[in-house]
Amino acid sequence: MAMLGAINPVLMAGLNGDDSWRLKDYVARGGYEQLKRILQTGMTQEDVIGEVKKSVLRGRGGAGFPTGLKWSFMPRSFPGDKYVVCNTDEGEPGTFKDRDIMRYNPHAVIEGMIIAGFAMGANRGYNYVHGEIWEIYKRFEEALDEARAAGLLGQNILGTQFGFELFAHHGYGAYICGEETALLESIEGKKGQPRFKPPFPASFGLYGRPTTINNTETFASIPFILKMGGEEFLNLGKPNNGGTKLFSVSGHVNRPGNYEIPLGTPFSTLLEMCGGMRGGRKLKAVIPGGSSAPVMPADVIMDCTMDYDSISKGGSMLGSGAVIVMDETVCMVKALERLSFFYHEESCGQCTPCREGTAWMYKVVHRIENGQGKPEDLDLLNSVLGNIAGRTICALGDAAAFPVQSFLKHFGSEFEYHIEHKTCLVPKDVQWAGSGFHKIPA
């Protein structure tokens, strides 16, 4: 099933049955009509970008940057090759929405990318797909073949002068490639190490050519924005937070999965849609936007609505919309230990503060979790994270530092307890119960 629940769905509306991803089904849902309208009624590049600006669509990959504005940065009359790149390297812990968009509605991504190519004067595109979701990558390649065979990709699309080629490129296990310049390096056949910015990809991107990179959900929204009009899309959400968004809910809820809801929907409503807390236990904390977003205590998130501005006001980030829900059975020290291990493991090694700092953060949190913490460790952690944040080429350094900072800020007493008592506040057997894993037979 495409969605476990939705309110006014747009991207994932009407997706029933195993063939919803096929071209035939997409066309039956009104697919590729917007591309036709643009090419056959003489819409201009400015018209398309204007409509996207009106919608206040904000980048769905994590940064929330206005898409229309990003598109307007492309030097669209610059001669020669220009590129549109889709970021489906979905590896931010907690995020699994793009996988379902690609699984159930890949042609929306393709149509969105072709329209983006038209609007920005780009003639070639790549979709970079997370290597771990191989079946989805293969399906996307099949969807591309369908589009090619129907004359929707290639030269002279729909008999016009406009041509656009689109291909899929797979990752092979590197979180850092979700960073847009690392992703470009990766497409160029290199290690995925981020580039220093500026120059930004709009002037020096793939193969040194003007390039715009957007998230899968962002591209998939484009045909729908053009269909309903930018203003109507904006009004689905709330001012400055246009449209609906997919939220990937994981952790301690009864029905983890993807939910498409209007931006501005209360968190409490989303939690209800997920069937509430597993086992009726009490909510302890939520990471609202993927593991890089600061953790929020239960009482703070319960007062928030799910949109960029409200979550930011609550002290975190909406990020990719990956909502990681934790109940009272979670040991926050162990939770942070796992996240710190992840950033240490995935640091690309290019910048010293991140390469060395993530190792130190993991090492210190690990020893606190294992009863060997020292009273001065909390100050040490704060000092290490302060030496990473803002001092690296890309945002992975900040992404690694924010969880540590926010866990210490909101749950510092659990860390102090660990250090003083050499053990956890939450008994091990209770942690076991929270995971919902069926008991191992004796």
Binding site: P93, F96, G131, K191, Y207, S250, N258, S435, F437, H438
Partner: protein, 157 residues
Amino acid sequence: MFSADTLQKFAREVAKYPAEQKQSAVMACLAHAQEEKGWLPPEAIEAVADYLGMPPIAAYEVASFYNMYDLKPVGKYKITVCTNLPCALSGGYHAGEYLQQKLGVGYGETTADGKFTLKEGECMGACGDAPVFIVNNRSMCSHMHPEQIDKLLEECK
């Protein structure tokens, strides 16, 4: 070095990129090479580099940077378990422990009969389906509780 089938797959990948950017196909070609060989011995990496007209060291850099390439032999079935936080909250750690008990090996190890290699992985982008495994980089297995794990191991002949 490679079968006709694999070489055909290489050609298909190269065709995705501008003619002067053959190196862009290195990730896909290494993946196909690994699929044929079971892992990536140095000769295979060099042969891919040769095919794409790039220095062997540049191909080796790629092979050693991305986690899903195996630079050492692995068992017939490589099972990668996601233990990242969202999965761990829904049994990822426990599923890994259960697999270790059943197979009698730890993470990064291969069973004595060469059949299974167990690996601890990072986020696979399927957190709603936890616990999650990937078998041989290709097949994603969802909701892996003891009964499903037993079934998976039985199916790996």
